[in-house]
Amino acid sequence: MKTIPVAFAVNGEPVEVSVEPRKTLADTLREDLGLVGTKLGCEHGACGACNVLLDGHAVRSCLLLGVQAEGAAIETVEGLGRDGELTRLQRAFRDHHALQCGFCTPGFLISVTEYLRDVDAPSEEEIREALSGNLCRCTGYQGIVEAVSSLLGEEEAP
């Protein structure tokens, strides 16, 4: 099959791959770049496990084509922590038991990273609305809501 060369940035590093147009960005990240932190659940936009930041905004990487990433800045879960250090958000997830099997966690972390940048003092209902775009099949969500709530009203960036 014919492939198309694509150049973009992932977690601050320039990358170049050559992919078939029908290959999703999620598969491009996982198979061509080895970044398997991004998970694939439903592959039609419902579950949120594949969320990545595209130019700073959380999007479903299963609903983007790899070729559409040309020129974009992509951040995946691998890029959140630096030098082996977890981010405050990741620590909050650990401290509040916001994960069990961990499959959905990268997608949640990406969504909440954008969300925390945008909100001021959301109510619990608003937090739950913001989390509604990610499915978790084991925690029951309470720990996730608590992890996010614990970071609000603090000064430091997540």
């Binding site: 029908r22 039609h44 479903r60 609903l63 969300y115 509604s132 775009g133």
Partner: protein
Amino acid sequence: MKPRPFEYLAPSSLDEALGQLAERGDRARVLAGGQSLVPLLNLRLASPEALIDLNRIGSLAFVEEREGGIAVGAMTRQRELERSSLVRDRMPLLPAALRHVAHFQIRNRGTVGGSVAHADAAAELPALLRAMDGHVIARSARGGERRISAGELFDRHLTTSMSPDEILTEVFFPDLPSRSGWGFHEFAKRHGDTALAGAAAIVAIREGRIASAAIALLGAAGTPMRALRTERALTDTAVTDDIGAAVQETVREEVDPVADVHGSAEYRRYLAGVVARRAIADAIERAPR
């Protein structure tokens, strides 16, 4: 690999895109935000020979104040419209309804034109356009530009009256009538799920009577529909506490919901009445006296 193979075209101008579409017609699909089309490709429910990606055409993304309303470029992301201060101040109905469009991650990518062109009978933007009597601009290489009113656009579920060589370029949301109020309510099993029923209401009140009423329903028929009989019944009636119950009743009589795995027609008919009653109550509450 999920989708079947296709030719991928990424034009940098609208004219280039129109030319590519004219050559291929219904063998090609136009790709906007991809939040409905790419799932269909991944599930192989759609297998176009070519995809014409509009995401490189910067001129199709704008939110502009115009005489009598706000014009929105087809490739404007739904999230951008939701967060526009111009829209929030001039048409708060829009962000109130956009909150219900899937989840913010979908709205970050999903476009205003894409949602309207997709013409889902249970989607929020098509129903808003119907409630507001808005219109769209469609362009083709063959016929140039034409304006299509919301009433003429939605043909049936997932189908518009646009021809295969036309691209929707702009969506126009007219200002609400003077001295009017608005309401928007929908019911979905979980936040962000496709609504089982929803209603947008716009009501103008003069001297204690309803001067004009527009009620659009989503998920209540094969297309986003106006509750015309209910609107006629409301016009020129006095604003009383009984209006909600009357609206609920007449809306249930005129909707024609389609049953599916998520809800029976009977249940959706019931819900249509409920959301219409709530929307009209908010609209009356918000209308200046």
